[in-house]
Symmetry: C2
Subunit: 471 residues, 2 copies
């Protein structure tokens, strides 16, 4: 696209009139977006979290370092209060690097597959385990095979559907294999489990993530292999040959250990007991930098408080940033936070989570108790003309895992929904690093969160304009 | 974001009901999107254009190679007709690599700046030119300085505004310096011109692009330097020191030469004389691979025809893919195409261009003659519930440079509007290569174009349902 002609035409498209909205609100949202793009701190904070601290699995020294770092950064913002909230989290460790080898045999060379042990995987013991590979496409197939998988390595290989527009939907249709597959295999006596990585791409990056073993099932070695290796392995098996695989995992369970949520707030001038929460989760997997998942959500939530100060907005309600611990493998932080809300009685008028990556924001997704939901959505939809110029639509649907335990309070729960096309390229991998995050896209997410926070703060969530509102 | 809980909530958001739309249309658009994501050819075609052929400036051997390659690929699709349409284009060449050196002096080392000559730049002669640098922020400032710039190198350094949400808007507010600045400087006797690259980032990549010299002004050497070097140079000058710059450019003007648009079509079964055009421009700048600008638009337009065949859709109207030559520095192809439409009288019910990068599609922007525009927009808005589930909004505004000469026919003109946040990282640079393009984002643009083409083809552009429509 060249310089002139078309450009002048384009400009006519972007000067959007906001019907029925005050100039004051439009001006405030513009200031917020400009401030986020030019003075936002999200990207530099994320650089530290991802590149200096790195992967922050709950219970790890890195998770503790991230608690201290974000606490100090929130302190530097000059907020009304910053504190650590105790919680307990499971402490699982990968240990020494996992090894997955397809063994030599019938004219084949030995081949090493790129793999990552899944969170909660068992250890193989120092000698490792080996067995015949049995490929399946579903949990049901394991039930059908039943004792035939005894002593084998079960290979779950149903791909995420690349034909789905909604990548989270494709994830939802495939991830049962990772979460429940290894336990299912173990119940029938399998020695180990291999899961095709959760991504629509065929690439060399294994994706870890949680797997669950009921208390009655001893954890077996369970690993994810890259989609490229999964395709290769499947082709081998399809050619009619039995192949044996060797698995070595060094995973350790240390039980539950103490950790913390990190919280900072600006107290409201009119309604200090009404809280508008914005948050993400501070923990990540242990590989990579946890940049998109969910360093991005944390630094955006922190930047909301910074941007409010930058544009000189004084909130009527208490605006609270919460960085939750242990979303990835237990929700220890989210549950502890909800418990404390139950005890203190502080009402969360709204809670907004960013946990779908630091990409260009496209929507907020809302949920609430049915008793109040319709009224809330009426209020929120009034603001669509203010948010649409920044590419933000309003949807109904889920919000976020960490804030979902707050639903009992009958406040509004919301999730930021960025563009999801690139998310599963990085999710739970060693390449979820700062260079996968675009500074402008990250900043616009912080601006979107700040904009919604300000509108809820200014007007509340009743459909009619409040007396103090100018609309 | 972890596996369960939130996921199940998310799924409730993505199963969108389409009020007032037939299941048939929703099913067709779903098939189109699935086909684009799983069987689309856009990415492999783009790989060839960007990496095998490379930069394709009008008049160059690479531009000719891209004509032959895309013609052959369209032929392979088994269309009803594929042809080359003659046009003439200016042939400007960069020649030997440009050199920009800040000369040693007053305790300073010599420093080489990263630069690219602008399209239409003059040559410096074999000895190069040198002169004192004068930094300005606007064309008006040059008028104010007037003969004071005689013998100097004028340095245009007003940045693209990083605080603008709309990157094309920021571009529009800064690009006059590149397009008109060097000629303005030349009019007052400057020996050369340097322009800060058109990007909001501070990075080491110079961005080329067209500059215009009126016939009455002899072209002077005119180059873009990277934003990082522009900041450095400005800081040097602000410290109060005069600095001299040496410029060497080897640019050559060869006058106008023959070239071609590449066209392929599927003839309509009911209204073969009504054309729905979809296109992009085949030429690019000579550096990099022209991947986003505008290889992406070309391969998406080609994929529209391929996807129609893949899903088995038989068009009622003629669907025509046009790959225009010479958008970047003359519009030779677009003007020749409009001339031929004028001569043949073929009515273009709609023309749709993709020339804003291969990023996630977010909207179509529409324009037309005022006499027909309101009716067209009523028709188009009926389809919003079908397009919104794929993240597509409908806007009024510009369409595309190549199709804009068709406006006289009073058809509908549309432009695909992908997410623009990353576009100016790559625009007119050596890094506009295939690895800057995400396969899913590119494919979804092709799916969006195909969806709009199918809806216009099926229902026409009257607001009321046509007799053949099922709605």
């Amino acid at each position: 696209m060249r310089a002139f002609g078309l450009l002048m035409l384009l400009l006519s498209a972007v000067v959007t009139v906001l019907p029925g909205q005050t100039d004051e609100d439009a001006f405030l949202l513009r200031r917020i977006h400009t401030a986020a793009l030019t003075e936002g701190k999200a990207y530099s904070w994320l650089h530290h979290l991802s590149e200096e601290i790195g992967g922050r699995l709950a219970g790890s020294p890195e998770a503790e370092a991230s608690v201290h770092y974000t606490y100090a950064q929130l302190e530097d913002l000059g907020l009304d209060q910053v504190w650590l909230q105790p919680c307990t989290v499971p402490h699982w460790e990968r240990g020494a690097p996992e090894v997955v080898r397809v063994l030599a045999g019938e004219g084949h060379q030995e081949r090493v597959l790129k793999a990552l042990a899944l969170g909660n995987s068992g250890a193989s013991g120092p000698e490792g385990v080996s067995g015949r590979v049995i490929e399946v496409r579903s949990l049901e197939e394991v039930d059908y095979l039943a004792e035939k998988v005894e002593g084998a390595i079960v290979f779950f290989n149903r791909p995420m559907d690349p034909g789905e527009y909604h990548t989270f939907h494709a994830y939802g249709k495939a991830v049962d294999q990772r979460v429940y597959g290894p336990a299912k295999a173990a119940q029938y006596g399998a020695k180990g489990a291999i899961v095709r990585s959760m991504t629509t791409r065929v690439d060399p990056h294994p994706h870890t993530g949680v797997t669950l073993f009921p208390e009655t099932v001893d954890p077996i070695p369970a690993v994810a292999i890259s989609t490229a290796d999964a395709d290769w392995l499947s082709a081998q098996l399809k050619s009619g040959q039995n192949r044996e695989i060797f698995l070595y995992t060094d995973c350790r369970h240390h039980g539950r250990v103490p950790s913390h949520n990190v919280i900072g707030e600006i107290r409201g001038s009119d309604f200090p007991d009404e809280v508008i929460l914005v948050g993400g989760h501070l923990d990540s997997w242990d590989v990579g930098g946890g940049a998109h998942d969910d360093g991005a959500g944390c630094v955006q939530a922190m930047d909301v408080l910074h941007l409010l100060k930058t544009v000189g907005y004084r909130p009527r309600r208490t605006i609270r940033c919460v960085l939750f611990m242990n979303e990835e493998n237990g929700l220890g932080g989210g549950l502890a936070y909800a418990d404390s809300a139950r005890t203190s009685g502080a009402f969360h008028l709204a809670a907004i989570e960013s946990d779908a990556g630091g990409f260009s924001p496209r929507a907020f997704s809302f949920e609430a108790d049915p008793e109040v939901f319709t009224d809330y959505m009426k209020a929120v939809h009034q603001w669509l003309p203010l948010l649409e110029p920044y590419g933000i639509q309003l949807q109904t649907g889920g919000s976020g895992a960490d804030i979902s335990p707050l639903k009992f309070q009958k406040g509004l729960l919301a999730g930021l929904r960025p563009d999801s096309q690139r998310y599963f390229d990085y999710h739970h991998t060693a390449i979820d690093r700062i260079d996968a995050v675009h500074p402008r896209e990250l900043a616009l997410g912080a601006a979107a969160l700040t904009s919604l926070v300000v509108l809820i703060d200014k007007y509340g969530l009743r459909a009619e304009p409040t007396s103090s509102g100018s609309r």
